[in-house]
Symmetry: C2
């Protein structure tokens, strides 16, 4: 059913620790072996690493694990295929341009009765429900906001309302970012944690790796990690509720269903 991983931080931060845990779920400690991808933003630009091969065996995933690329906004996905075959064009995350910025999206879940959704000029390339849903979101946003809106928080609240419509068609857990803001939407499985000073040790569930974040950070760092299931077994993760959305900026949660 796939797993998601995201990060929002106020300083460029690498995600090697969390990605090391996630990677194992792509074929070793988990069944999500039908491809993986990760997108790192640096300013307005981004780098994508993708492979239709299982992450636990991928040479490219190994590079990402060992080569610390620092970023303030990251989305990653490991796939267990349902809609759409195993192929690069069906591998998340998906990236499209809107309002002169690159938008990146990843989905965990499965939709039914979705093929009626209009995507306008944002054509899917692959065959997944996920990519089509993303194209639909972009089309809806472009119709409502022909140019980039002033009030981005209000715009993301509108996206949450659109996600409610998608959730009515099945399971729709989502991460969405423009490189600055990172939005989460939960159907059934999504967790988050914000790490800030005083930092402490963290222990991965899927690999024998422990890290002392106090040695890796400064007292001003704020780093939020989002994952389908908690990646560590010694920290307190928040579990999101069905229909809950959260909006993060520079690591801080700035809006939510309840905020």
């Amino acid at each position: 059913m796939c797993e998601l991983l995201g990060m929002s931080a106020n300083v460029p931060t690498d995600i090697c620790f969390s990605f090391t845990g996630l990677m194992q779920r792509g074929g070793r400690t988990g069944p999500h072996k039908d491809g993986w991808g990760i997108v790192f933003y640096e300013g307005k630009g981004l780098r994508t690493f993708k492979d239709p091969q299982p992450s636990s065996q991928s040479r490219i995933a190994k590079l990402v694990q060992e080569y610390p690329i620092k970023s303030c906004s990251v989305i990653s996905h490991i796939r267990q295929a349902n809609r759409g075959g195993i192929a690069l064009e069906n591998t998340h995350p998906f990236t499209r341009e809107l309002w002169g910025r690159y938008w990146t999206f990843a989905h965990n879940g499965q939709l039914s009765g979705y093929t009626h959704l209009e995507t306008g000029r944002h054509n899917p390339v692959g065959e997944t429900d996920s990519e089509l849903a993303f194209c639909w979101l972009l089309d809806e946003l472009e119709r409502k906001y022909p140019t980039k809106p002033e009030d981005m928080t209000a715009m993301f609240r509108h996206v949450a309302g659109l996600c409610d419509q998608l959730r009515a068609l099945g399971v729709f857990n989502m991460l969405l970012t423009d490189g600055e803001y990172l939005m989460t939407y939960c159907s059934n499985n999504l967790h988050w944690i914000t790490r800030r000073a005083p930092f402490g040790p963290a222990r991965l569930i899927d690999e024998e790796v422990e890290i002392d974040f106090q040695k890796e950070t400064t007292p001003n760092d704020i780093v939020t990690v989002i994952a389908t299931q908690p990646l560590t077994n010694n920290e307190q993760w928040h579990k999101m509720q069905p229909g809950e959305f959260n909006l993060f900026l520079l690591g801080e949660r700035i809006a939510s269903t309840d905020l």
Copy 2:
């Protein structure tokens, strides 16, 4: 002033040999140290590797050099910045969706008096003349062909006419692909070679590497490589003329200014 590298092949082929030569020109045997990128197509999907760091020192370029990714259509670019600073969003190649396919573009050259070019809904993200020119091409194509045209060769001839307009604004050497077709357009510097049976040895100019293609290929393989300057010193490369375009499909040249 940048260098381009492209490949069109009738069987998935790796570009490690040519890329090894090109890499050196990004900071060692050449001055193109302001970032590099490469796009490999696999079916309708693609993989992008980019770095704003010089290719001759890039860890990611080293992976690409050593990890043979097989593809029928590849575009690569090493940059010497003029318009737009050194940043990931200004690093070629650029990829956008049109007609449900990913289109990839790279440019070598510099334009002036181009900011009036309309790009419609295809907004540039970075600050280069190159990306803006690409967005203008996409907008022009979408206006003329609201859906994917039947006659792709005629469409590419139309693109060549659009490139003539860009060439009037400065230096415009270009590679453009949708993963199937690969088009080249020359202002001043672009060369190509089609390798087919009987294959022979090839010797790089920029690195002490020689390969015997006969050991790497089957008799049916057809592989065209395009480069700003020839990469080998023992083969016969064709030099393109100003205003010349060529269209390749599965390694064969199927259309040209003269064909």
